[in-house]
Symmetry: C2
Subunit: 226 residues, 2 copies
């Protein structure tokens, strides 16, 4: 039974969404060749899947509408493939997901809010600007004026991850797992859209490089902005 993954695309067909990258990496980890269909924000409602966001994974009559649900579904549907949740633990990936959603995504989003708008398909730009400026309480342009401050905040937020990755090669141990893909998605979002935000010798950057090499360089094969 085949898998279909809907994921977000920019004007140049770039896959940039951090949440969609979680799903892509989870599929690759499980050794699944999914058919991927890239959509714009304005296309999601037209899919008639009662979803407002992507990733969406379709497998037979199952429709999974959230990156976490996709990962846990894959873990159950593909028990013989390598585990996304070593030792069956979901508390660590949940915590990392909560931590990434606040401490990591927020400074990244603020730094590159305007960069995201720029790479979107023109039909997506009004929706993105309206919803994000409301959330920010400021214009996209003015938010990213403080780029270096947001990047500094990101670097400070990454301190615990940096310490972890001085001790081991991946966030959950010596092999990659779903816990890695959650943070990978955030840094791949940066890589595809914007200028680098980490020092080259930062252990987090070194780990991200290792993740880019996984699964035949899946992450690396996505073109960078500019």
């Amino acid at each position: 039974m085949s898998y279909v993954l809907y994921e977000l695309r920019g004007a140049q067909n770039q896959a940039f969404s951090p949440f969609c990258w979680r799903a892509r990496m989870a599929l690759a980890h499980k050794g699944i060749q999914a058919e991927t269909r890239r959509v714009r924000y304005v296309d999601i409602a037209k899919l008639e899947l009662s979803a407002n966001t992507v990733p969406i994974l379709i497998h037979g009559d199952r429709v999974l509408k959230d990156s976490w649900d996709i990962a846990t579904y894959l873990e159950e549907a593909e028990p013989k493939a390598p585990s996304l949740f070593p030792r069956g633990d979901r508390s660590f990936p949940r915590f990392i997901q909560h931590w990434t959603g606040t401490s990591v995504h927020i400074p990244i989003f603020k730094a590159m809010a305007f960069d995201i708008w720029e790479i979107l398909d023109p039909e997506d730009q009004p929706y993105f600007r309206a919803t994000r400026e409301k959330r920010l309480g400021a214009s996209l342009e003015s938010t990213c004026l403080s780029w270096s401050q947001h990047v500094k905040e990101l670097s400070a937020a990454l301190a615990p991850l940096r310490s972890q990755l001085r001790e081991q090669n991946f966030i959950g141990g010596e092999a990659p797992a779903y816990v890695d893909y959650i943070v990978f998605g955030a840094l791949q979002w940066v890589r595809v859209i914007s200028a680098g935000m980490l020092e080259k010798n930062d252990p987090v950057a070194t780990w991200f490089d290792r993740c880019l090499d996984l699964y035949g360089g899946l992450g690396r094969s996505e073109p960078r902005a500019g």
Copy 2:
């Protein structure tokens, strides 16, 4: 073979150190009745254990000088007692330890730097003031003038933990484990020394309350400041 735990004390014999509380809770989790010996900062060198900090755990000829080493030692020395590291995972507690050391301890320390000094034995106060003011680059008194800002920063830093504890009763699942005791130590440090920093209905406060009830109310039995 008996266990002896050296831990830090204030002028009123309070056990206030977050790192020592990690060890106390780990011992209680393992059902071990350790002999506890409370010392001041100035006493540590006199123990002639080549240690600069407490907790120190002594078990036969083994001397463990760090809260993490104590926890991992107990896990190996007491394999039949409940596990401190469910499923054998140490990556999650390591991450939580790194996260607590930066995101949680720093705002707490800044908020109550002067409060800590106040509860210390007079012989400890000069050492504490000198080392901590050097670290802060400011006086203890001036640092805690921004109490409400530090508390706000703490509350923001706790966001991922708050989300986690909306989903489950303990940080690692439905039962307490070492991962809980790491954060417990930080909030017990606040409880013993200072005014409360969390809203009463904060899921983190509710979880802390559950932790205070553990092991016959071990944490709750330690008197509060003031």
